[in-house]
């Protein structure tokens, strides 16, 4: 069925989208706003001279609760090796190692970013209270205002905090939108770039009748649904430059195989095409390693960490200079236990590490180490509410209002973003 969704359908829209885009750009520039890719269309009156331009934030959710203690290893804590006689990553295998922390060797492809000071890890982050259910933890994390009456995701509150009403402002690559995006502000979910199109408006539709017939049925209707349908036609048109963009990565980037790499290669196309997308969410799973998490030689951790690092490294290579406008935040609904179980795995825990890469990131290790306890039920404790990290990202990249995005929350300084 792929041929049903070929981009050719929208060639007629593509031209106009480019034209109008240029008109927008002209307008923004005329107003004296210095803007960069991804933000030109969006940042209008609010951006006074000197305000950092808005860019793109990619939220990469490691679904299933990744083990932060394997990714960002506290080799300086003696309990780590004791609690994990088989699973501990040996200290001499770590990369980007300092006196206390080091990264899993499978993250080596990210070393150029790390060494350039463009990658950071914040340890012992998490929800304010323990929650070992994937599902409700994800919900809580993505809602990010526990206990408040707000039932919308933090990303939806972020994109809803300005005057932009385009569904293209936020985009989920993959199946279903995360709860972080749920809410009243429009967003777009798609499994792939090629699916952002009108089914049937393809190369076999020689006379362009498909689009014309839809406009005939919907254009004159005064209902709200008709308005939404016209917005959808408009979004397809606005997105057309992305669909028409070359799918070959730039700068010699070589993506590994796998869903995450494919998704990030499409995100790079979206960033490059400059159609006003500001927030992209991508899911990567499965990190739920109750069994066969393995070692540096075999197992699910090695495999997943390689997919993650390979895809992210290729993504930033692909972006080239545009990478200076893109911040990637990798997070998980919760962490895993300190001590290993009998199945070469780890059960559900609490605190975790977050990874940040790209624009505005202050490289290196961050956070307050709580110390580990060796006990079958012991968790990595949380010393940094993950919202404090996200707050620095949204305020440094978007200048967003923290009370709007995280109602009722007072962030503590983490310092993981420059200027924060």
């Amino acid at each position: 069925m792929d041929h049903e969704n070929q981009p050719g359908c929208c060639a007629e829209f593509s031209a106009v989208a480019r034209t109008s885009r240029r008109a927008f750009l002209g307008g923004a520039l005329a107003a004296g706003v210095a803007t960069t890719i991804g933000s030109a269309v969006i940042q209008t009156a609010a951006a006074a001279a000197g305000t950092p331009a808005r860019g793109v934030v990619v939220v990469l959710s490691m679904r299933g609760a990744a083990d932060g203690l394997s990714l960002v290893v506290p080799h300086g804590d003696p309990v780590y090796a004791l609690a994990r006689p088989r699973l501990a990553v040996p200290s001499d295998r770590l990369v980007a190692k300092d006196g206390f922390f080091g990264l899993h060797p499978a993250l080596s492809p990210l070393l150029p970013l790390w060494n350039a000071g463009r990658m950071a890890a914040v340890h012992a982050t998490g929800l304010p209270v323990r929650n070992r259910s994937h599902f409700s933890a994800m919900e809580e994390l993505e809602d990010a205002s526990p206990g408040s009456t707000t039932r919308s995701g933090w990303l939806n509150r972020l994109i809803g905090s300005d005057a932009i009403a385009s569904p293209l402002q936020a985009l989920q690559m993959g199946g279903t939108a995360p709860a972080a995006l749920y809410g009243s502000a429009p967003f777009l979910t798609t499994r792939s770039i090629s699916e952002v199109g009108i089914a049937g408006a393809d190369k076999w539709d020689t006379y362009g009748g498909r689009n014309r017939s839809l406009h005939t049925m919907w254009d004159k209707r005064q209902t709200r649904l008709a308005g939404s349908m016209r917005a959808a036609f408009g979004a397809v048109a606005d997105f057309a430059p992305v669909v028409a963009s070359p799918s070959t990565p730039a700068n010699g980037a070589a993506y590994p195989s796998g869903d995450l790499a494919k998704a990030l290669s499409e995100v790079a196309r979206i960033v490059r095409s400059d159609v006003g997308v500001e927030v992209v969410t991508v899911d990567h799973g499965d990190w739920d390693m109750h069994a066969d998490l393995g070692t540096t030689e075999w197992g699910a951790m090695k495999r997943n960490a390689e997919q993650l690092s390979g895809a992210l490294a290729a993504f930033f290579t692909d972006l080239g200079a545009l990478g200076d406008t893109v911040t990637v935040v990798c997070l998980s609904e919760f962490g895993r236990r300190v001590a290993e179980n009998a199945n070469w795995g780890l059960d559900h825990g609490y605190g975790n590490a977050m990874l940040l890469l790209g624009a505005g990131v202050r490289g290196g290790y961050h956070g307050t180490w709580p110390g580990l306890t060796n006990d079958p039920d012991a968790d990595l404790l949380v010393t940094t509410d993950y919202r404090s990290v996200l707050a620095e990202v949204v305020s440094s990249r978007f200048g967003a209002s923290i009370p709007t995005v995280f109602p009722g929350f007072s962030p503590t300084r983490v310092g993981v973003m420059l200027g924060q």
């Binding site: 031209a15 106009v16 109008s20 009403a165 408009g234």
Partner: protein, 521 residues
Amino acid sequence: MSSRTTGSTTATRRGLLAGSAAAAGIVATSSPAAAGRRYRPRTYAKRTLLSGRDRHLVSRFSYGVTPDLAAEVRKKGGARAWFAWQLTPGKINDKAGDRTQAWWPELAQGPLTLWQNHAGGIRGGWLVMEDYQRWVMARRMQSRRQVLETMAQFWENHLNVPTNGEQWFLYRKTYGDVIRRHALGRFDELLHAAITHPAMLIYLDNATSSAAHPNENLGRELLELHTVGRGSFTESDVKDSARILTGWYVDMWKSWKASYRPDLHATGRVQVKGFTAANKSADGRAVTADYLRYLAHHPDTARRLAQKLAVKFVGDDPSPALVRRLAKVYLHHDTAIKPVLEALVDSREFRRSVGDKLRDPAEDVVATYRVLRVRLGRPRGTDSAANTMLWQAATIGAMPFSWPRPDGTPLDNATWSSTSRLLASLRTHYQMAGGWWPTQDVGYRPPKAWVPKSGMRFDQLVDHLSRELLHQPSTSVLLKACCEATNLRPGEKITHDHPLVRWSMARLLTTLLDSPEFFAR
């Protein structure tokens, strides 16, 4: 795109469209009158239609008006009589709806077996939940008890326990059964059955609540979501609400048996809003029953339920007068649901709400199967339509009861009007119209079957299809759209060998499915 620049894109796009239309040799007509002159619909009334008013009622309380359903409505003496008949579902013979459960045998398994299969890696809970969601869709598609199914959907969503495969999956099917049993009964009984059901107890953490550490999750959502609503209670109410519910227990991770544990019940005086009880007995079941009955009968609950029913079945902004009236009927009839529904469908506001409610994703898929009269067979593999139809709903934006939060899927139109949803609907409609996917254990009508008379005029064919798929006569706008989609003139003779029938029937059928008339329910 900022709001201040929207105008210019729209203008440009319109300019371009007009340009391309002209280039294709078609004179763009801008006024409906002009469209009417060129595209005059021509009647082909092989089958009688319900009146507009009857169609509206049946459409709102079913998963799509098919010729069979319309015949049943006529036999019952019209929509209102049909509706009254539907309100006693036990009297409706429903072999087609009943047999579907046997299609997914694991739905009959008890919690312990399901758990052992899940923990032993034999079959994950999420897979069992997928089967449950498929069964729900199959029932909606095939059951003759259409009003019961719409109301089961309403209450199962109101008392949402997500079908995501977490531990409560063990009881999720029986939870749905219990709700369906009470869906046209009394809300006070429905509420008690749902709140004390192990699925709900596990989902909202009451199963592990105790006198020493009352878990407030269920106690809070009971007030905020299931009954009186936000702003109507205090934190102290929540604490006592949680204490009242202590004792309702599930033996987690072991036998998974549900029981009442007096040793876990928090005794001592409780007060929630106007409800007070000495709560001296360790067996708190009676105080639970009294408390839930109090909440079900509370005017704030009446108002909330009336509002939600009106939003689901009338429109997104029901008048306060209608909500007041429905709440009054609800309280007057001791929380009985049927009289409220009858008052709702008899209201002028309901009659005037034609086209005001949008199908949600699963409703869209089910209605597409129904109006295309796709035969759904017993599934034999993962690619069978009865299994893959769930992915169709997921693509459009939501599978039944998969909403990840206790507040349930939103009922308003805006939620289901996103660009993603609309584009995905168009894609699913086109796939189904072409019969391209799914292809296993499913029967599509051959293109010829949609052309009742070889050699008929195209405009007649459009009228015929409008009656078959939309249960209403064609309009000039629809005829024009169909002519554009197929590049045919209204007077074209359509034989069974016509290229339209041989190659492009999907383009014609999808035009009807993509019309505003089909998006509304």
